[in-house]
């Protein structure tokens, strides 16, 4: 049951009305609940940011680290105890902007964990500044005349870096999101799920979508399933959120490779 993993005594939660973080949290906890694990065998690691508050509402072991370093702490936890189920929750600020270097190296090393990056297209907690995923021309507190940079396609970054499961969903299509997180958990290796999520308070208000429902509708309209994207030009795909599974391949994960070396050296010594 959801209640086995959700710390209900801490509700109502800290997130704004219409923030998508609670939708992702529900999907994640329902999926963890289905695994039939012991709670103490799971560790949820968070960084700083709105989504980084998620550990306040989860009844597993949790670790709340410094900004952008959630994956660094997760790597350490997984190396120290490879039997733990490690989940890393990051926002776009944590995951690809401040923590971008940790992201590409965790993907390259194929650390066996599930990383869920909630992408709300701006730094919500600090007041709506642009992040590494803010789309071109978007208005934020630090791009009042329209953002002149192009946001990262984070899934392409993680795929290029070596992530062995890479997917994108949205909080609008919550049925697909449930499946993506389920697949990420089942996958052995670095499993990355990016979730496009509304920040009505900052991104929405700055871009004429102050109501949560308007932001959800906008996300729905900007979403293009992977199969349909294949027949669209780069110009047509500008600013769209392509959803689906981009990578699902088998490659030896870090802990397995490490243990293989340990076993070999033990054999040589014995």
């Amino acid at each position: 049951m959801l209640q086995d993993y959700l710390l209900e005594e801490n509700l109502p939660h800290f997130w704004c009305a219409g923030c998508g973080s609670g939708i992702v949290l529900q999907s994640l906890l329902r999926n963890i609940d289905k695994q039939g694990w012991k709670r103490e065998d799971t560790v949820v690691v968070t960084g700083i940011g709105c989504w980084g508050k998620a550990d306040d509402y989860i009844k597993t072991n949790t670790f709340h680290g410094t900004h952008g370093r959630a994956l660094a702490f997760s790597t350490g936890i997984k190396l120290a105890n490879p039997d733990l189920h490690v989940f890393t929750l990051m926002g776009d600020g944590d995951g690809i902007t401040i923590g971008g270097n940790h992201l590409i190296h965790a993907a390259r090393r194929n650390i066996d964990l599930v990383a869920i990056m909630v992408n709300n297209l701006n730094y919500g907690m600090t007041g709506g500044q642009y992040s590494g995923t803010t789309p071109r021309d978007a208005i934020t507190k630090t791009s009042p005349y329209g953002h002149i940079e192009t946001g990262f396609d984070v899934c392409r970054v993680v795929q290029a870096a070596g992530g062995s499961f890479v997917a994108r969903g949205t909080v609008y299509d919550v049925v697909q999101l449930n499946k993506l997180i389920e697949q990420a958990i089942a996958h052995k290796g670095f499993s990355f799920v990016e979730v496009i999520s509304p920040c009505p308070t900052h991104f929405g208000r700055s871009n004429h979508m102050a109501a949560a429902v308007e932001m959800m509708r906008w996300i729905k309209e900007q979403t293009v399933p992977l199969a349909r994207a294949a027949s669209m030009s780069p110009q047509e795909l500008e600013g769209k959120f392509v959803t689906g599974v981009f990578e699902n391949s088998q490659r030896e994960d870090y802990s397995t490779a490490y243990q293989r070396v340990v076993d070999r050296l033990k054999g040589e010594a014995g």
């Binding site: 959801l2 509700l11 109502p12 609670g22 049925v175 109501a211 429902v213 959800m216």
Partner: protein, 66 residues
């Protein structure tokens, strides 16, 4: 709210009145009444659970009898 097989419960203490549930209910079962969602057409509920899963505040539960 009873609907034969489905029971829709709204937890007002947790609801932040974002309106996502009512706006995207495929059967228009939910409507905002004085800001809070209410199951105004519970007999039309098909138990798709979208309102519960899309509620950012854990404020809706839809019970279906198995």
């Amino acid at each position: 709210m009873e609907n034969g097989m489905k029971q829709i419960t709204i937890h007002r203490d947790w609801c932040k009145q974002c309106g996502i549930c009512a706006s995207f209910c495929p059967k228009k079962v939910l409507e905002l009444v004085k800001g809070y969602p209410e199951a105004v057409r519970p007999e039309d509920c098909i138990g798709c659970m979208l309102c519960e899963m899309r509620c950012p505040d854990f404020a809706i539960s839809v019970k279906t009898e198995d």
